[in-house]
Each structure stands twice: as structure tokens, then as C-alpha cells.
């Protein structure tokens, strides 16, 4: 296992390097300049600005320069924010998005697994239908519509929760619910499917035949086995939720990284786009690594390191 993990870490570094390089090259393909006020400048003035920021050098030189700085932990300065260091922004903004994402994931996963289990056990009955309908409705309402309705109802009409902010437990409730219900619905659907499948497996039938009580069968065998594929889903979903919450961040004015990212893309703020992308990629690669390791831990039948079955 130790060797396997070391090898995986090696691969992770290579993957990450490729992502960084690809991002850098794609930035060079974006048309236009990062200077928002470029329409006010003459071509000479623009060239001057490009020169100040080293954007007139050949791409390989810029690339080496970028990689050199990258290794030294310098991701450059943000064009839209008066050249303030990108790393500082990421360090300020990212934890907020991370917190929002993880809270939403916890909320959604726990509820989703519970709903999925109940739904799977009572398959085809009223409770199951209710659950299916509910989850589908939650999947089909865009989170921003849901968030806007929640905000209007709970913050403007009833006024139990603050309209905006990220500064105390009360401010977390609405955004976490807004993102969490989507997660809940997805997880519940997957969990239900798995439960239904597992409950039809031979070993469950065997366990029941042995005389184990239904609850024991469900707790000891069914749930544990049904959870395995859920782990695969949760990993990438966490990464997606952390980075994909920008609209919710905007609605509740949460100082996360999402809205920052859109601004950066729209204004060609290369260092900011690259920094955010790299962080996202790192998060994603690490999550997948953890999932793969967990996979082996949860289900001893799987040898992650193993080759072709023989």
C-alpha cells in the first residue's frame, strides 16, 4: 500500500504539471488584453503597458518565468485588483468557498443517504414515490431560483435569517440549504438505486435465510455495501460544489472564490484565472486520490493496485 500511495503521489504531480501548462497555454490563446480600459488607449500606449507587464515577451520565456515564480509560490498579481498578489486572494477567498461547499456537502450527503435508504427499503410504496418526486423537483429547480425564493421568503417576508453575509451560524443556513438540496437529491437517487440493487443480492437473501432480522440485514450488510459507489460520487461532487457555488455566492454576497473567478475570466485577468484553475485542479486531483484510497479501505474485495483479474 505504501508503495502504491507513493506512486500515486508521483502521478498526481505529473498530472498537476500538465494542468498548469495547459492552463498557461490556453491563457495565451485568449484574445484581447487584460487591460479593461484598453478602449481608451492608443496602440502605442497599449504596447507600453504590455511591455511593463512582460506580456510582449515570447511565450516560452513567459512560460519559464511563470513556472519559476510558481515553484517559488508566486502566482503573480491580479490585473483587475491593482496587481495585488493572487495567492493572497486565493488564501482569503478559497476557505470561504470551501467552508460553504463542505457544509453543503455534509448537509446534502447525510440527508441524501437517509432519504435514499428509506426510499430503497420502501421501494414502490408511497414513501418511495414521495421521495422520488421530491428529489426530482429539487434537481429540476436551478439552485439560484431556489436561493432567490428562500431569500425573499425567509429574509424579506418573515425576516428570520439575514439577507446576506457570511459571519455567523444564521448567515450560513440559507446558502447551505440552497446548495445542499441539490446534493441531497443527487445522493438520494444514487443511494436508492444502490440500496435496491444490494437488497436483491444473493448474500442479503442468504443473510435473511440465516434468520437475521431485517434491520440487522439492512444495517450490517445492505447499507455498507450500498455506500461504496456513493464514495465515488461524493469526491468529484465536492470539488464541483466548492467551485460551482458562484451564483449562490453572488445571491448571498458571500466573499468566496466563485464570483471572483467569473470576473477574472471576463476581464482576462490571466494570473487570477490560472491561480484559481490550479487550485481547483489540485483540489480535484487530491479528492480523487483520497476516493481511490478509501475505495480499497471500504471494500476489501477491491485491489486498487491490482492488474487484470486472473
Amino acid at each position: 500500500m505504501g508503495r502504491y500511495i507513493l506512486k500515486r503521489i508521483g502521478y498526481m504531480i505529473v498530472t498537476f504539471y500538465v494542468v498548469v501548462t495547459l492552463t498557461f497555454l490556453s491563457m495565451k490563446m485568449l484574445p484581447g488584453t487584460p487591460f479593461k480600459f484598453a478602449n481608451r488607449l492608443s496602440p502605442e500606449q497599449l504596447n507600453q503597458l504590455k511591455h511593463y507587464y512582460g506580456l510582449d515577451q515570447p511565450v516560452p520565456v513567459q512560460y519559464l518565468q511563470y513556472m519559476w515564480n510558481f515553484i517559488h509560490g508566486d502566482l503573480g498579481g491580479s490585473f483587475q485588483y491593482g496587481m495585488q498578489p493572487v495567492t493572497e486572494f486565493l488564501m482569503q477567498r478559497f476557505p470561504v468557498s470551501m467552508q460553504l461547499g463542505i457544509e453543503s456537502m455534509i448537509f446534502g450527503t447525510i440527508l441524501g443517504i437517509l432519504l435514499g435508504i428509506i426510499s430503497g427499503i420502501y421501494r414502490g410504496r408511497f414513501l418511495d414515490w414521495g421521495m422520488v418526486t421530491l428529489t426530482v423537483v429539487f434537481i429540476s429547480i436551478p439552485s439560484f431560483i431556489f436561493a432567490a425564493i428562500l431569500q425573499y421568503f425567509f429574509s424579506v417576508q418573515i425576516r428570520i435569517f439575514p439577507v446576506i453575509g457570511w459571519s455567523g451560524p444564521m448567515t450560513h443556513v440559507l446558502p447551505v440549504i440552497s446548495i445542499g438540496v441539490g446534493v441531497m437529491a443527487s445522493i438520494a437517487r444514487f443511494m436508492r438505486t444502490e440500496m435496491v440493487e444490494v437488497l436483491n443480492q444473493d448474500y442479503i437473501v442468504t443473510a435473511q435465510a440465516k434468520g437475521l432480522s431485517t434491520s440487522a440485514v439492512i444495517y450490517k450488510h445492505a447499507i455498507r455495501n450500498a455506500m461504496i459507489p456513493i464514495v465515488t460520487v461524493i469526491g468529484p461532487m465536492t470539488a464541483a460544489v466548492v467551485t460551482g457555488s458562484l451564483v449562490i455566492e453572488n445571491i448571498f454576497a458571500i466573499p468566496g472564490i466563485g464570483s471572483q473567478f467569473i470576473d477574472a475570466i471576463v476581464t482576462n485577468d490571466y494570473p487570477m484565472i490560472m491561480g484559481t484553475t490550479e487550485l481547483y485542479a489540485a483540489l480535484f486531483i487530491v479528492t480523487i486520490f483520497i476516493v481511490d484510497i478509501l475505495y480499497g479501505v471500504i471494500d476489501p474485495r477491491i485491489r486498487v493496485s491490482g492488474g487484470k483479474p486472473s
Partner: protein
């Protein structure tokens, strides 16, 4: 016990003459997997009704835009923001043409009734909604095809062979997934011009990833199970094992994930509209309509409501139908 039973005596029975082969005959007509699936799907009422609703929506998506002879860009600001009104159904509050108790049609002196109302530019929302449904369905169809074709094959090969193959294939996925969708899409749109084609390619490029990962997970789970070993012992080829045993056994997860890729494709398009990279105006999609309506959510909620209901209906039906399909195809559920 009824008395008639007493009339049956042993001598009423004679021994049937069994040939050598009759004992091996399987009772009942042999049913092919497809026929069996179809039979079971049709008996599933929920799934069947869902299929009919989807068919209806598809029908309206094709015919609906031509109902009133407006094209999707028929603007007239003098009839902007009219609430829904259906002549003859005015007694239903939702179709009365009233908003906040005011008859907007009378106020703006408009004679024609607009079934779904009009938008800020005075365009007929019935026409635009069904046109949007059409576009969204096309996007959903492509995403689903991509999921199934690319994702299943990629995930299947990667998970089944494992080792170096898996390693390389998974690293490629990580690289593609590691760069946010948005960066891919911006690049594609800048290269290809915004529009249906660019959106489709962008969704194609990234949507199969989660399917590939899920199928791979299933493969890892299944490939060491006894029935695979049995099949291998009997000399089955890799191809046969993957496509005849492993994938059919993962079909539940595949169908569920496919049913998710439909909404996520529709929403992804909606998200693109939200940041201004979506379908090219004056074209519409359900996503762009909901986004336009979202700006008006507090003021003219009907502009979001109808596209919203159609999305919800589509997704509910796709899901129930997906469940039905899964039940019909999953070999493990054959009883």
C-alpha cells in the same frame, strides 16, 4: 375442503409418456432480453405515463412554435410584459390576464390573448418557450448520447483492464476535469463563435467524465466477482465479458447517471446563459428563458413559471422513465 375433491381418485391419472428430450425442455416460451425488457417496461404504469408525457412535450416542442404564427423574435414593446391569458379560461386566475388585480390587457389596450404571456420585448412566450424546449431537448439528447457512448466505453475499458491502462486513462480524465469547464467553454466559444454548436461541443467535451468514473467504479467492484470468473473460465473474451456481463450488471448506475446528465446538460446551458455565453439571442432555450425570467422573478413570476414547469415535468418524467428502464433491463432484477 369441498366435496368434489373426493371424486378424484388415483386411477384418473395416467403416466405421461416423456421422451428423452422433454425433461430438458424449459417451460414457457423463450424470451429474448429485449422483448422481456419491453414487456416489463410497458407493464410499469408510471414509466409508461412518463413516456407519454415526454412524447407530448416533444410534440409541442416541434409544433408549439408555429401555433400563432409569431416567429421567436416578433417584438413589439407596446405589448411588453403581459401576463398569461387564455380566452375562455379567464376564470382560472393563472390565465386571466390580470397581474396584482389589474387587467394588464385592458391597461395596454391589447386584444390578442397570449397563453404564456409576453416578455420585456413583447415577444410571445408560448412560442419562445416551446422553441426553447426544442433547443434544450437537442442539447440534452447530445449530452446523453455522449455520456453513454464515450463514458461507458472509456470507463469500462479503464476499470476492467486496470493497471497501466487504467492509470493512464485516469490521469487523462483528471487533466480534463482538473481544468474547470468554464475555461474550456470560453476557449471553445472564442474559437467557434457562441451558439448551439459551441455549447454542444463544450458539453460533449466534459459531460462524459462522471459517467466514465462511475462505470469504472462499477467495473472495479464487479470484475472480481464469481460470475466473471466463471465466464472467464468458460473461455469468454474480454470484449464479451465487458459488454455482455459487466456493463449489463452496471446498467442501473448507468441509466441513473444518464438521467442526471439530462438535467445537468440543460442546467449547464442555463448557467452559460447566466454568464452570457449561452444560446445566441434571439434564439431561446429553457435555460435562457429561466435566466431572463429570473431577473423578473420578483416582478413577473409567470415568465419563469412556464419554462420552469416544463423543465420540472421533463426531469420528473425522465427520472421515472429511467427507473422503469433500469428495472426492465437490469439482469439482477429479473425475477
Amino acid at each position: 375442503m369441498t366435496s368434489s375433491n373426493h371424486d378424484i381418485t388415483k386411477d384418473l391419472f395416467t403416466l405421461a409418456d416423456l421422451g428423452d428430450t422433454a425433461a430438458d425442455k424449459i417451460a414457457g416460451e423463450s424470451v429474448s432480453a429485449w422483448k422481456d425488457a419491453l414487456r416489463r417496461f410497458v407493464t410499469n404504469k408510471g414509466a409508461f405515463i412518463s413516456m407519454i408525457i415526454i412524447a407530448l412535450i416533444v410534440f409541442f416542442a416541434i409544433v408549439g412554435p408555429h401555433f400563432f404564427g409569431y416567429d421567436i423574435d416578433n417584438q413589439d414593446v407596446s405589448r411588453a410584459n403581459l401576463p398569461p391569458k387564455i380566452s375562455g379560461l379567464e376564470w382560472i386566475p393563472a390565465f386571466s390576464g390580470h397581474e396584482n388585480g389589474v387587467d394588464v390587457y385592458k391597461e395596454k389596450n391589447v386584444k390578442t390573448a397570449y397563453w404564456f404571456g409576453t416578455d420585456q420585448l413583447g415577444r410571445d412566450l408560448w412560442t419562445r418557450t416551446w422553441h426553447g424546449t426544442q433547443i434544450s431537448l437537442i442539447i440534452a439528447l447530445i449530452a446523453t448520447l455522449a455520456d453513454v457512448l464515450i463514458g461507458v466505453v472509456y470507463g469500462g475499458i479503464s476499470g476492467y483492464f486496470g493497471g497501466m491502462t487504467d492509470n493512464v486513462m485516469q490521469r487523462i480524465i483528471e487533466i480534463i476535469a482538473g481544468i474547470p469547464n468554464l475555461v474550456w467553454i470560453i476557449l471553445l466559444i472564442l474559437i467557434m463563435q457562441p451558439g448551439l454548436l459551441a455549447i454542444t461541443v463544450a458539453i460533449l467535451a466534459t459531460s462524459w467524465l462522471s459517467m466514465a468514473r462511475i462505470v469504472r467504479g462499477e467495473m472495479l467492484k464487479l470484475k472480481n466477482q464469481e460470475f466473471v470468473l466463471a465466464s472467464r473460465t468458460l473461455g469468454a473474451s474480454d470484449r464479451r465479458i465487458i459488454f455482455r456481463h459487466l456493463i449489463p450488471n452496471s446498467i442501473g448506475m448507468i441509466i441513473i447517471n444518464t438521467m442526471f446528465s439530462v438535467p445537468s446538460a440543460i442546467f449547464f446551458e442555463a448557467f452559460l446563459s447566466f454568464i452570457g455565453l449561452g444560446i445566441r439571442s434571439p434564439q431561446s432555450s429553457l435555460g435562457s428563458l429561466i435566466n431572463d425570467g429570473y431577473q423578473m422573478l420578483q416582478i413577473h413570476p409567470y415568465q419563469t413559471l412556464y419554462p420552469g414547469i416544463i423543465i420540472s415535468l421533463l426531469l420528473i418524467c425522465f427520472n421515472i422513465m429511467g427507473d422503469g428502464l433500469r428495472d426492465a433491463f437490469d439482469p439482477k432484477l429479473r425475477r
